[in-house]
Amino acid sequence: MEMHRDDIGAKLGMWLFIFTEILLFGGLFLVYAVMRHRYADEFHQAAHQLNAFIGTVNTVVLLLSSATVAMSITAVQKGEKRKGVLFILVTLICAGIFLFNKYFEWGHKFSIGLYPGSDMMIGLKHGYILFFSLYFFMTGLHVLHLIVGSIILTVIMIRIQTGSINKERYVLLENGGLYWHLVDLIWIFLFPLLYLIT
């Protein structure tokens, strides 16, 4: 007897989950929009504190990682197992580079005493506090998604290797890919709104 299988249904489920994620981050972007409108000058000044270079490197790294996940689906569809695993590996390396950069970026801010609840931050003007709180919360939540995505992709990579994801059956890879692209999509908005608008 054949097992019941519905790939479209599986993908639809993944999309519904992605919609909840869009609304989760959407709420934060809404707070950002209103507060930016209210404290335009202070947001402007505070954004100068962020390292646009690290932000740019991370943008490029994330875009590359998104492309390799998409390519891995092509590889698995064609039955090129080795390539499929390799593409996911490149994605995971990109995720590692992103985390490494984020570690130094945040580490520097913590070392100069700039973190939520620190004496320095409490002493700042209201608009600055809001900007940095949003910065830490939004990039933090984004990084959390990136870490979860990396774990999911690691499982997927192992499954391609063992053959339980193959050219006949790869919906898990597609859904993992969708999640990874969501992480990229959120960064596409975070990067200009936090790092570039100075």
Binding site: D6, G26, V60, A67, A70, I197
Partner: protein, 94 residues
């Protein structure tokens, strides 16, 4: 068991898409060097939207999936834009 004819995208397509996204990123960064005052945010948002459109259409396969997925995505985004608009109506006219 549902079997759908699956679309296999060529590697090169993803290569071009990546290139397009990188070019758009370069434009976003270059634009911030020019002072457009009030327009800066708008330009950044427009470019980010174009990038999202490309990611959704190619990387997230909306172009090749059933139209149902596109309809859902458009609906969700419309609701979100409506929420932003309503919030600002309330905020600006208070």
């Amino acid at each position: 068991m549902t079997h759908t004819e699956s679309h296999i995208t060529d590697y090169r397509v993803y290569g071009w898409v990546l290139l397009a996204l990188l070019i758009l990123t370069t434009i976003t960064i270059t634009v911030t060097w020019i002072d457009l005052s009030a327009l800066t945010v708008l330009v950044a948002l427009i470019i980010a939207s174009v990038k999202s459109f490309i990611v959704l259409r190619y990387f997230m396969h909306l172009k090749f999936e059933s139209r149902l997925f596109t309809v859902f995505v458009v609906m969700v985004l419309s609701i979100y834009i409506l929420v932003i608009a309503l919030t600002f109506f309330d905020y600006l006219l208070r």
